[in-house]
């Protein structure tokens, strides 16, 4: 298996397109960093009256909450969370971290995960389909190795590639972030709100977790792209459909969720696991375990389709 993955890895990295993708990703980080630096608020010192400000904010939020109609449950929960965190700040004397630091830059760079995901999807979409396109699939499949092993090595390579893109994103965001914005005042805790209480988290761990959680949808769509690639042997179809879903899948699901409960069974309703820790569920009654089970079901369906079709099909390319 190891040597099969080495083979796939070489095939990816002997093509110049791969370096263009990596370059574009780093460039995107540099661009957002530079824009933030030039146009962002320069607010290096903590406002000495921050406690007053926070108190005002709490009062305002509480007032708003009492005025809300009972139907706006989601919004109410958001306010509740904000109030709880602010109260925690007052109690423990932690000023709000609205100051731009390397840490916040890394966090903001999660917005670029879908960009990294885009490239991973392109790789996933091509990894089976291009072998058919090149005609090399014939020589690949007449080795004394089961087709399922070859397909698995390809899938693992895609996942490794995705991880590498994430590490590159995280790493370049960290280097650039700390270089441009510094490390802040050394206050490296993150306040999270879960199950009605506020907890402090180590910033680095929190960021890694955030990256991981933010990558779930990308991972799932990558798996889907891989499946389409293996089933239809057509990389354009795989890229097109997957990127379309990556771009608008979330919004469409949110839209449907405002009207219909069944939206909770869709893939995108479940990819955002942070809704359970740092937010509120899309549809009332959804739980973490429900989402994880849904994700597993989707994952299994994609893999069954990919492996089922790929190992059975006649190769006539």
């Amino acid at each position: 298996m190891h040597s099969l993955i080495v083979n796939e890895w070489i095939k990816i990295f002997k093509r110049p397109g791969t370096y263009v993708m990596i370059g574009l990703l780093v460039l995107a980080v540099i661009a957002t960093g530079t824009l933030n630096k030039v146009y962002g608020e320069q607010n290096p010192t903590v406002n000495p009256q921050w406690e007053q400000q926070v108190q005002q904010q709490i009062a305002q939020d509480q007032k708003q909450m009492s005025e809300l109609p009972p139907t706006a449950a989601t919004y109410k929960k958001n306010l509740q969370r904000q109030i709880a965190i602010n109260q925690y700040r007052l109690e423990h004397k932690i000023p709000p971290d609205n100051e731009a630091t390397g840490w916040t830059f890394i966090q903001d760079s999660t917005a670029l995960i879908s960009f990294a995901g885009l490239f991973t999807i392109i790789v996933a979409a091509g990894i089976v389909a291009s072998e058919f396109g090149w005609g090399t699939v014939k020589l690949l499949l007449i080795r004394p190795i089961k087709r399922s092993k070859i397909l698995l090595s390809k899938y693992l390579t895609v996942i490794l590639f995705g991880l590498m893109m994430l590490v590159i994103l995280f790493g370049s965001a960290a280097i650039l972030g700390f270089a441009l914005f510094g490390t802040g005042d050394g206050n490296t805790t993150h306040l999270a709100y879960a199950n009605g209480s506020v907890v402090e988290q180590n910033m680095l761990l929190y960021l890694i977790k955030t990256y991981f959680l933010a990558s779930i949808d990308v991972m799932m769509i990558t798996t889907m792209a891989f499946m389409i690639s293996a089933v239809f042997r057509n990389s354009s179809l795989a890229v097109g459909l997957s990127i379309f879903l990556l771009m608008v899948g979330g919004q469409i699901t949110t839209l449907i969720a405002t009207r219909y409960d069944w939206a909770k069974y869709s893939l995108f309703a479940n990819t955002n696991l942070t809704q359970y820790t740092d937010g509120v569920p899309l549809v009332e009654g959804m739980t973490v375990s429900f989402s994880i089970i849904m994700l597993l079901i989707y994952f299994l369906v994609f893999q069954l389709l990919a492996f089922g079709v790929f190992t059975k099909r006649d190769v006539a390319a």
């Binding site: 099969l4 020589l139 007449i142 059975k312 006649d314 006539a316």
Partner: protein, 305 residues
């Protein structure tokens, strides 16, 4: 000769309700070159795809060195090296990197082995160039190299001489001869070029419309007592003289073709000389399978009609 390396037993392939291969059975012995002959669309490539596991077998079974291709894929394929239609390789890799890809997929292939194979196919000078800069002949050589890496017992080559010039064809022929003689490999070659097949093969199976029509030792008809000889002579003069003799001949270009036994050749030359006919060239024509082939295949068509 009782050691089949490849065995097809009642192999049938149905694609979309159409019978492409119909109850095909034959065996290939150790060290023999087996030709697979048939017109376009006869099902040669389809059969080869089934042998190497690229296509499923609708019914029947294929055994390679005693292993079933379907149920013991890895054990069976270990003994097979091959090229199916054109050897498509990774164009963005060098020849060497391509070979490395395949070397990594089987245990125990050393760098030395790779170099040896490269040397064997005569690609040493260009092996570190990208495959996209290769000519078709060089890609065929690389394809051959790829199939030899793991010392297979059976080589399967689908139209290996496709697009090669005569020198290239001869080279492939020499390679195959070497492989069977030196390493005891068996070879399956498919082609629709008859003359080529009889020069390479020990045995030839003719298939048509997915059915085996005939299977023969090449030997049997090449070592026939009579052989065709070509005499380059003045056609008109020769024809005028031969007309009165009980010799059957065929007019060729710039000469005549006659079926003769070897012993009769000097007599024939002497005869022409005596009659004052100038002889420019005499050569044996490789007795082609062509007649046999058309005989058999047209019979087959009649049966179908």
């Amino acid at each position: 000769m009782s050691n089949p390396v490849v065995e097809l037993k009642h192999v049938t392939k149905v694609i979309k309700g159409k019978k492409i291969i119909d109850d095909l059975s034959f065996t290939i012995e150790e060290g023999e070159v087996f030709g697979f002959l048939g017109p376009n669309g006869a099902g040669k490539t389809t059969t080869i795809r089934m042998i190497v596991g690229l296509m499923g077998i609708t019914s029947g079974e294929i055994m390679i060195c005693g292993h079933n291709v379907k149920s013991e894929f890895e054990d069976a394929l270990q003994h097979i090296g091959g090229i199916v239609e054109n050897p498509e390789l990774y164009k963005f890799l060098t020849g060497y990197q391509n070979l490395m890809q395949y070397a990594r997929m089987v245990k125990g292939i050393s760098k030395q082995k790779i170099d040896e194979v490269v040397e064997f196919v005569g690609l040493t000078e260009r092996i570190h160039d990208k495959v996209k800069t290769y000519s078709l002949g060089m890609r065929q050589r690389l394809g051959l190299a790829q199939s030899l890496l793991h010392d297979p017992k059976v080589m399967i080559l689908d139209e290996p001489t496709n697009g090669l010039d005569p020198a290239g064809i001869k080279e492939i022929r020499d390679h195959l001869k070497k492989l069977t003689k030196e390493k005891g490999m068996s070879v399956i070659v498919s082609s629709h070029l008859l003359s080529e097949m009889e020069m390479m093969c020990d045995r030839i199976a003719i298939i048509q419309q997915g059915k085996l029509v005939d299977i023969q030792q090449v030997h049997d008809y090449v070592q026939d007592s009579k052989q065709k000889y070509f005499f380059e002579v003045d056609l008109k003069k020769a024809a005028a003289i031969l007309k009165n003799l009980p010799i059957s001949y065929k007019r060729g270009e710039n000469g005549i073709e006659v079926d003769l036994e070897k012993e009769e050749v000097p007599d024939m030359i002497q005869f022409f000389v005596e009659k004052g006919i100038r002889i420019f060239e005499v050569k044996p024509l490789a007795k082609t399978l062509e007649d046999r082939f058309f005989e058999v295949t047209t019979q087959g068509e009649k049966v179908h009609a």
